[in-house]
């Protein structure tokens, strides 16, 4: 329990699980794992594409790509994959605006696609992403990278790269903040309705 107790609690009652420094270190570690697992820096490496799932999978994919470039001088094509139209829970929430799907010019056919999202929870978003990806092309293989895995899977889905495993209660909420969108980097735990 030590990590969870480490962060400070903000005025909204959210506990900081990862500080900006933690976020940067975690992403760097994930970048190394990607390089290692995909042999990105090998001489005859096969194409790899990072696809961020809006909203916060997008900056995460870009940062991973930047770190990979920093460590290897390899530029990994990066794009975005919106899954809204493929969700199975549309009727449970107010109408969602669509996010952007922007595939790299090289496309995804025969590439190793790494889906990138901020938090892995039920797995439904990733299932939607797999459906969306099928309509976008035919990758050689698909992997998954997430900054936080908080458990409570409802589908047989697991991540290939996990920044941090965070055991949570179902009522709790995990928020990932990125400076590009939120003005600062952090991972917060909101205890939800529980006192």
């Amino acid at each position: 329990m030590a990590p969870r107790d480490r962060g400070a609690t903000d005025p909204a009652g959210r506990r900081e699980l990862l500080t900006p420094g933690d976020v940067a270190r975690t992403i760097a570690r994930m970048a190394h794992q990607v390089i290692e697992k995909t042999s990105l820096d090998a001489s005859e490496a096969r194409p790899v594409v990072l696809l961020g799932i809006p909203t916060r999978g997008v900056p995460l994919a870009r940062r991973l790509a930047a770190k990979i470039a920093e460590f290897t001088d390899v530029t990994v094509p990066t794009g975005t994959l919106d899954v809204t139209l493929y969700r199975d829970d549309l009727r449970r929430r107010p109408t969602r605006p669509l996010g952007a799907t922007e595939l790299p010019a090289s496309g995804v056919d025969d590439a190793l696609v790494i889906l990138v999202d901020d938090v892995l929870f039920s797995g439904r978003t990733i299932r939607s992403a797999l459906d969306a990806l099928r309509d976008a092309g035919r990758p050689r293989a698909v992997q998954l990278a997430v900054l936080v895995d908080r458990g409570h899977r409802e589908l047989p889905i697991r991540a290939d790269y996990v920044g941090k495993n965070v055991p949570t209660a179902r009522t709790e909420e995990v928020s990932v903040l990125f400076a590009e969108i939120d003005g600062r980097d952090a991972v917060l735990l909101n205890r939800g309705d529980t006192p």
Binding site: L85, Y86, L90, R91, R93, T95, P97, A100, T101
Partner: protein, 313 residues
């Protein structure tokens, strides 16, 4: 959004959200071989057309099918609609049969509003696909989508709507939507084809003119309305020839428009009457883009109506 009955009830945020969704759908489907999204799987959409309009019905049908909805077409010819069943009974029957959305085209102004009232208890949503001489909101949305593509935006643009405004639901919907989105709209027609007291309409940014030539150089876009055959014999103007001379968009008038200006027409066109052949086929005309945008806009409308929580206001 529970129903789409008229552009008069659309606020700018909702209209822009629909246009953005249409844009997103267009980009998503661009270059795809299989134009099929699973979004509305299991939802039933019924088109109920009491007037013939192949283009609008097909556009809605494709929109529904590309979103994986089950689309059923009811036409006045092939059902109890033609046997004198009341609109209310037909609507309640279709709702009871499980329609999640009814898309209605009807010759009576207000028919879609009435349907929405009768279906208020059953949760079926209603899309107005043209009611009498009242509104045709999806046409206005697709026109707005086309103008956004061509002009980069609508706010602050000056748009002319020319022709039989009196009997045009397309004109009414566009007047509401384009002014809501910040455009200046000038309606140009002979006085006999203008609705009563246009100047008193609770719409800001709307002006009226009888003189097309005077307006053309000021316009960013001109929307030519169809002149229906029955109007030609209704004494609204002396002859088709005189109408074409005064209000038709020919090559000379096309040259009076600014370089960047766009020509729209909701179709079907009467070439040689309100629009000259050469104008309709010129690169300034966005008429085929309008048709393409029609599908994406109608997909977006179905998405906003059917892909959210059920009991949204």
């Amino acid at each position: 959004m529970r129903h789409l009955l008229g552009a008069d009830r659309l606020d700018a945020d909702t209209a822009l959200a629909i246009l953005d969704t249409a844009d997103g759908l267009k980009r998503t489907l661009l270059g795809r071989e299989v134009k099929k999204l699973p979004t509305l799987r299991g939802r039933t959409v019924i088109t109920m057309f009491y007037e013939n309009s192949t283009r609008t019905r097909v556009s809605f049908e494709i929109a529904g099918k590309w979103m994986s909805a089950d689309v059923v077409n009811v036409s006045a010819g092939g059902s109890s609609v033609g046997k004198g069943e009341s609109l209310r009974d037909t609507a309640l029957t279709l709702a009871a049969a499980g329609a999640d959305c009814v898309i209605v085209r009807h010759p009576a102004s207000g028919a879609a509003h009435r349907l929405a009232g009768w279906l208020s208890d059953v949760g079926t949503c209603v899309v107005n696909a043209g009611d009498g001489t009242h509104e045709h909101p999806t046409q206005a949305l697709l026109d707005a989508a086309t103008l956004r593509d061509r002009l980069g935006g609508i706010d602050g643009r000056r748009i002319g709507i020319v022709g039989d405004v009196l009997h045009s639901r397309v004109a009414r919907s566009n007047v509401h939507l384009l002014t809501t989105l910040g455009a200046e709209v000038v309606v140009v027609a002979p006085p006999t084809l203008l609705p009563t007291a246009l100047a008193d309409w609770p719409v800001s940014g709307l002006t009226v003119s009888y003189d097309l030539d005077a307006e053309l150089p000021t316009l960013d876009a001109v929307m030519m309305l169809r002149v229906q055959a029955e109007r030609m014999h209704g004494g609204f103007f002396p002859s088709a020839r005189e109408y074409a001379v005064h209000y038709g968009l020919n090559a000379t008038r096309l040259a009076m428009l600014p370089e960047h200006a766009v020509v729209l027409h909701p179709g079907p066109m009467l070439r040689g009457m309100e629009i000259a052949h050469a104008v309709a086929d010129s690169p300034r005309a966005a008429i085929t883009e309008q048709v393409a945008n029609g599908v994406h806009v109608r997909m977006a409308v179905l998405y906003h109506l059917l892909a959210g929580e059920e009991d949204q206001a």
